[in-house]
Every structure is written in structure tokens, then in C-alpha cells.
């Protein structure tokens, strides 16, 4: 039997982009409601596909999240999609976390979840961290590389393809005008883009099964961090609503719509 494999996928509870996103008085994004970030379904799908391809191996997919209590909803969705267990790190000290603070918390959570995992096999588990390409609210895409740095392992970001082949991870990513296909040994962090796969929908059976899956909650002390280790390094000065574009002219095509556009472009000196 090959060693067990532990795939730890980071998921985030984010405000629904279909609804209006609000800011609190402290200039922070209102996080009282949310959904599992769409971009986090791709790493989860990648994890499940790897698990399903390794029938002779003990593979666990853990979904982990840093966020408020409500973030349990994102974990629940991840369990319904097929993750085996869920872990949430919640601490008031993390409100207003920047990239630096988020990666500090996430790396400590990953380490704790990895260290606490029990496998049937006595062999040390191999491990792999998967994330989305960016969070839908923070959008920096910088957290995966920082987690790699903090855990001292390679980070291959923006994967458009990912697979585990004969104990090696093979990842394709875009780098400087080319697609590079890389082979890396575990452990590693990989951020997975929305090009990598087509995430599944949970079926009824999976939704029922998710109810029995374990979810644990931690605070900073549980993952070995002091609040001083998660103080943001970026200071927000202000937040402004984007100035709306002034409304333009909309006409209905009466058989001359194409000509009217060209007339407009000519008037604007664009042709």
C-alpha cells in the first residue's frame, strides 16, 4: 500500500456577487452573509478527481476555511461536494486581515489540520494544499505563494491543469506568454484556476452524507498563533464607490442598427 495522501483545500465564505456587497462602518466588507466562493469549487473538484483516480490509496480531502462563524456554510457546501471533513479557524483578531495576516492564519491552520490527521496506515501521509486562483472578494491571488513560503514548500499558482501521476504532481500553468508543464514532488501548494475542470453539483445522496461528516472549529491559540502574529501590514485609508459611467444611448435595431453604430463611431472619431 502506498502512503496515505492528505489533500487540504482552502475554501472561503464570500459575499454573493449577485447581491449588493456592503461595507461596515469600519470600512470593512460586510461578511454577515455569504456563499462558498465559486473559484474555490475548482480546487475542490481537482482534489476529488485526484482522490477518485487513486483507488488503491487512502486519500483524505479536508476543506479548511479562515473566516467568521458563518463560514461553516462554505464548509458544509464543500462537504456536500465531496470533502471528507471540515475545519474552520475563527478569531476576532482576524477581522480586517490583509494578505499577510490571512496567509499567516491559513498556513497555521493547514499545519494543524495536517498534524492532527489520523490515517489507518502507519506510514506518514503525503500532503498537498490546493486553493482557488484568488478569493472572489480579496482578489489578490497572493495568498497561495505566501502559504508556500510559510510552510517552506513550492507553490505552483494559476494551474490550468493538475493531476497526480506516479506519485508526482503534474501542473500546467501560464507563465510569460507560454504554458509550462511542471513536475513537482509533494508537498506543494497549487492554486487552481477556473479553467482547470468543471466542478460537480452535489446530488441528494451527497447532501445527506455530508450531514455525518465532522466539522471542527479552532481559534488562533488552537493553531499556535498569538494575535500579534496576525496584525495586518497594510492599512486601509479609505473606500470609495466607483463613479458610475454616465448612461449612454440605447436604440433598438430597426434594420439600420449597424449603420447607426458606425455613424456614432465616426462622430466620436473612433473610425
Amino acid at each position: 500500500m502506498p502512503a496515505p495522501l492528505h489533500i487540504i483545500t482552502l475554501v472561503k465564505w464570500v459575499p454573493d456577487s449577485q447581491l449588493e456587497r456592503r461595507f461596515t462602518q469600519e470600512n470593512r466588507l460586510d461578511r454577515s452573509e455569504g456563499i462558498l466562493g465559486e473559484l474555490d469549487e475548482y480546487p475542490l473538484e481537482a482534489a476529488l478527481q485526484i482522490k477518485e483516480s487513486l483507488t488503491d490509496r487512502e486519500v483524505r480531502v479536508s476543506a479548511v476555511t479562515v473566516g467568521p462563524e458563518g463560514a461553516s456554510a462554505a464548509l458544509k457546501k464543500a462537504l456536500q461536494l465531496g470533502a471528507d471533513d471540515g475545519f474552520r479557524l475563527t478569531d476576532d483578531a482576524l477581522a480586517g486581515a490583509d494578505v499577510w495576516a490571512t496567509s499567516a492564519a491559513a498556513a497555521a491552520l493547514v499545519r494543524t489540520v495536517r498534524d492532527q490527521a489520523d490515517f489507518e496506515s502507519d506510514d506518514d501521509a503525503e500532503w498537498l494544499v490546493l486553493t482557488g486562483m484568488a478569493s472572489e472578494d480579496g482578489e489578490s491571488g497572493a495568498v497561495p505563494a505566501q502559504i508556500g513560503e510559510r510552510l517552506g514548500i513550492p507553490a505552483l499558482t494559476q494551474a490550468v491543469e493538475i493531476g497526480l501521476q506516479a506519485e508526482h504532481l503534474v501542473v500546467s500553468r501560464i507563465s510569460g506568454g507560454a504554458i509550462q508543464k511542471l513536475d513537482v514532488a509533494l508537498p506543494a501548494v497549487v492554486s487552481v484556476t477556473d479553467q482547470a475542470n468543471d466542478p460537480r453539483y452535489p446530488n441528494f445522496k451527497a447532501i445527506m452524507a455530508a450531514k455525518k461528516k465532522p466539522v471542527s472549529a479552532f481559534d488562533l491559540a488552537d493553531v499556535g498563533l498569538a494575535p500579534a502574529e496576525t496584525v495586518p501590514k497594510v492599512e486601509l485609508v479609505n473606500v470609495r464607490q466607483r463613479a458610475a459611467r454616465p448612461a449612454g444611448q440605447v436604440v433598438t435595431d430597426d434594420g439600420a442598427g449597424g449603420k447607426k453604430i458606425v455613424d456614432y463611431l465616426a462622430k466620436e472619431r473612433l473610425v
Partner: protein
Amino acid sequence: MSMATSGISQVLVLLDRVNESLTGAQAELLTIAERLGDVSVVSGASAEAAAGPLSIKGVREVYVGEGEILPPDVALVDLLETAVKESGASVILGTDTPDAVDALARLAVRLDAGLITSATGLDTDGTVTKSVLAGERTTVSRAAEGPLIATVKPNIVEALLEGGAAPEVTALPVKPAPGFEVLETAELPKSGRPPLAEARVVVAAGRGVDGDLTLVEELADELGAAIGASRAATDAGWVHHSAQVGQTGVTVSPQLYISVGISGAIQQKAGMQTADVIVAINKDEDAPVFEIADYGVVGDLNDVLPQMVEELRARKG
């Protein structure tokens, strides 16, 4: 950090790759850097490759490694860290590409410093402007402590670089150390059209084109435009993903963006709403794209596009 009170800042610019000539985004980045202080550049490129394109007035010094160091090799971060010490930089900038974001993100951990990605403005007072929530809001922030580390979006300033003498090139004692094996490198398809991110005119296709790009290509040919697409169109495989405009694709800021059969979801708007002029063609009068269009036609693209092409040809005579 306060640049205003500390005199002239030392600005270090990371160019994760240097080709025969600088990309538009790199030229813009150097233009911005020059406004902020004294500029030096660090690159994993070889000394020979870097010197030519970086013979620019205002670039004082170029730091390279011992041998070519290509992303995602973490040695690039070692090189960067060494160059920060060497140059005494208090501002460290890169382009908003994944490779530069990764290297600067790791550097920020090493320096216990903040990181601001996708900046759309940098001020000499150390404040950084960026657009968040798919363009819904604009934030202004600054480094709370330590140096300012930021990646900068393209299409925010006019690149104004003057050629100059060859820069001083210093090789720092950092060697490549890839923790991976490159199995294959395949160039992305070249379209023969202007590069999307820098194009003056973009014609973008959405699900409405229903798999047939012919009309969109004809219009792009007439206008000398780049072709963009919605995620629905790239997911369907009608257009290569590198043409995707939006939150998880390319951000464009052309003089003219023509949106064809695209509904205009917030994630699509995020990539194109800073275009000078937006023209939309959509058969649904309630499509959100009309909320931001300067000129919109409610109609079938299969009727409107051929007429546009015909009219453009007629005007050319």
C-alpha cells in the same frame, strides 16, 4: 512608510522576464517607478539579455543572478531579497502577472511587510489606489510598516521612457534552484492581431455568437482590433482562454470596446469598464451591459454586425 519625509525613495522594480523589448506593462511600470524615486531593476534574465532593453534614462542599476532564474523558481525570491538589501529599496514593484505576484508575495513574508496587488495608482505619499470587488469599489491603502510592496496593473499611465546609456549590471550571488522539473513549454497561440491587453480597439464575443466567430473576426479585421471574449465563450471552447476579459481573465482599457452577445455580468464588467467608449450589441434590452454602454443597439448580432462591416468598408471607399 512615509516617502514624503524621507527624501528620494529607492525604488526596486522586479521584471520576472525580459524579452528583446519591454512589454507595454513593463514600460508603464518603469514610468511609474521613475515618478516615485530612484529606480533600479532586478531580473532573473541573463546580464546580456537585460542590458539592451533596460538602457533607459532613469534606470540606474540592474541586478541579475548567476545564470538565468526563471519563475516559478524560488531562487527569484532569493535574488529579489538580496537586491532589496543591496539597493536599500523602500518601494518594491512588479507587474500584475502571476509570476511577479508570487515572487513579491514570498518577499513580503520574508520582510514582514504588506503586499498590495493590482494597484491602479501610486502616489509619492506612499498611498496606493486599487479597484476591488470586481470594480465595485476603489480603495486607497498604504504600508502600515516596512517597505511598500505592490504589483501594478497595466493601462493606467502612458509609458514615457527615454533611451539612455547601458545600465550598470551587477550579478548577485544567487543561482537558479528550481524545485521542479519543466516537462514542456508551449507558446500560447498568436493571433496576428494586436495584443489584447494593449489594444486600442477590442471586439468581444459572448455566448450570443453561439460558436460562430466569423462575424466578430470580420469586424475586428475592419477595425484592426483585438478579439476578446466572455468566460461563457472561452469555456465553450469557441475562443482561446487567453482572450477572456474579466475578473478571472484579462483587464482591458481600450479606446473602444465593442461587446457582442455578452450579457455584462459583474465579473465581465470588471475587465472592461474602464474602456473610453463601450458599444454593446445584445438582443435583450434588459442585458446589464446596456447600463454601462455609451452606445447600445438592441438587436440580433447576425443582423447588426454584417451591416457594420459593410458600412465600414463603404466609408473606406
